[in-house]
Symmetry: C2
Amino acid sequence: MSTILDVCKLAGVSKATVSRVINGIGQVKPSTRENVFSAMKELGYRPNRLAQALATNKTHTIGLVVSDFDGIHFGLLLKQAAASAEFAKKQLIVTDGHNDPDYEYEVILQLEAQCDAVVLYSRTLTDEHIQRLHEQLTIPIVVLNRNMPEQCFHSVSFEQEAAVTIMMDHLFEKGHQKIACITGHMGNPTGKARLNGYKNSLQAASIDFKDELVKHGVYDMKSGYQACKELLNEGITFTAIVAFNDCMALGALKALTEAGIKVPEQVSITGIDNDPVSEFFTPRLTTVKLPITDMTKQAIELAITLCDETKPTHSYQYKGQLIERESVASVYTANN
Amino acid sequence: MSTILDVCKLAGVSKATVSRVINGIGQVKPSTRENVFSAMKELGYRPNRLAQALATNKTHTIGLVVSDFDGIHFGLLLKQAAASAEFAKKQLIVTDGHNDPDYEYEVILQLEAQCDAVVLYSRTLTDEHIQRLHEQLTIPIVVLNRNMPEQCFHSVSFEQEAAVTIMMDHLFEKGHQKIACITGHMGNPTGKARLNGYKNSLQAASIDFKDELVKHGVYDMKSGYQACKELLNEGITFTAIVAFNDCMALGALKALTEAGIKVPEQVSITGIDNDPVSEFFTPRLTTVKLPITDMTKQAIELAITLCDETKPTHSYQYKGQLIERESVASVYTANN
DNA sequence: CAAAAAAAAGTAACCGGTTACATTGGCGAT
DNA sequence: ATCGCCAATGTAACCGGTTACTTTTTTTTG
């Protein structure tokens, strides 16, 4: 790979002049500029971004850290992040934390010199971890899809509890009372908030919370499938299942189908996310849309802004939206 | 962020000594080492990777470039890539090319200074692009999931044509003769090879190729759905559909279900990939497994090897494997 | 105890760029 | 012809590390 010195030699000028031409700043005689350009072309010269970054302390790169590469919204998130970054001519570098908080923590620290800002979509880090990162890092962090307890972070979040409430209200309207629940990880704020949504909705409707109606999954189809099988095996009666995401809802759908239970005629199922695949199952899944694309766009754009200017912390919060399809039926209809 | 000079001052030693301590090479008196360590700790010092990379011309980073972040095998591929990279203590940086060959080409060139090797999983670049990259880049490239015409590349590929052949043979065995085909993009080698598989299988079975049985999709569920609808609308008769991936097969399944056509009783459907979701549809999809995890592991490990030593070009080729589930029925059964 | 060898530490150049500042040269005004 | 100004270019320090080589200190050995 040729360096700036090779270009200097070939064009017969100094480093400073070549640098001026590369960056298009300062005064350079047109004829000289041409010489330099043709030298660069002849050599196939491309500036070394590492060297540039070191010299300017600007990387033009946004770091995106996710806890795990098979995260739920992964595809849509990455796609939007890549699009937003490219639009602003920033490089995007994506890393995962292997679902290991300590590793993830390290990864983020390592990113410091390589990025101008970091967007963090973590489900394993604790709030304390994030707080510490915030204190240690000299580059700004934007926390995506997570409600931070204090307002000292840039964040783009989602009303987790409300998402479940929306769904529960929908089911109540359809006459459901015995509603089973398949949760996600209970170790992080998202899971807790959503479970609160479930409990509070029941309470608001004066329905007793029953522990045996709640099963814990890990946000994938398999765990939804298993959770649902447990419900069935234990002979618990219910007319609807609220799953904390679409994947688990679809897993549950599979379990019900295998057991010969008709959805939605005998049991209704709902998810959260509006995963693209949810439309292709039969019945199509009723769900609450989590606008991950919009949220990601917001987060990346915020991060990009923060590369160049410091802004007071800003949090954006998004709401879920009910998407009614065919996996929920009215209990009255079902019973007639 | 503190630098090596801050550590020098605090520990009262020179840069060289600090560097020795950081890297654990050379002779350093134990007491000095302790001083340096505690200085580093006190300052929360972490070496600047950019500066290290510039000085040593080693980045300890593998670049992974995909044409698009919603690529088919995306989740599994990334997950394995991240795991393999971490295992070797390499950083992984992932970038997409926005499905735009020119942009992707640029992205890869830009990566040169930032990585020790690149793994390329491209569906938009032409063979010529890749050839040119190979000539221009001073870092090794490993081409993943693509059969390169010449043996001058490191590559990990899949027997594309055979994958379709396996499936066709399976359908023939089950008595199918009228087999529709939903292809992927026909602009790249994968699509062409798979279509050859379809055509050659027909020929080998002495069945005439019929153009109207072939519809083109773009590897997503929606296009599979639409392709299948077209087949139905045009009133073409067929007893099985061979889709060039699972997503399209599942889209087709949806279209058939909506049309009241029973799968597999009336029409059989097959895919390629063994996408994790395929098991959760009803009926579960019969498919040909593309061992993307193994292939990715191989590619990343090869790339990592190439960081440290030059090796003669090596190509690995993987075969598909039939995974029989319930989306294919025997025609004889279906007709009885 | 002096000399030689080994260990420990420092110096300075280098990686490939950027940039503040200095220098040169050409031109118009006086 | 002289001066001043500005455009054009060069010089050298710097970004934060590494490393070959040199110097200093300590230990070993005869």
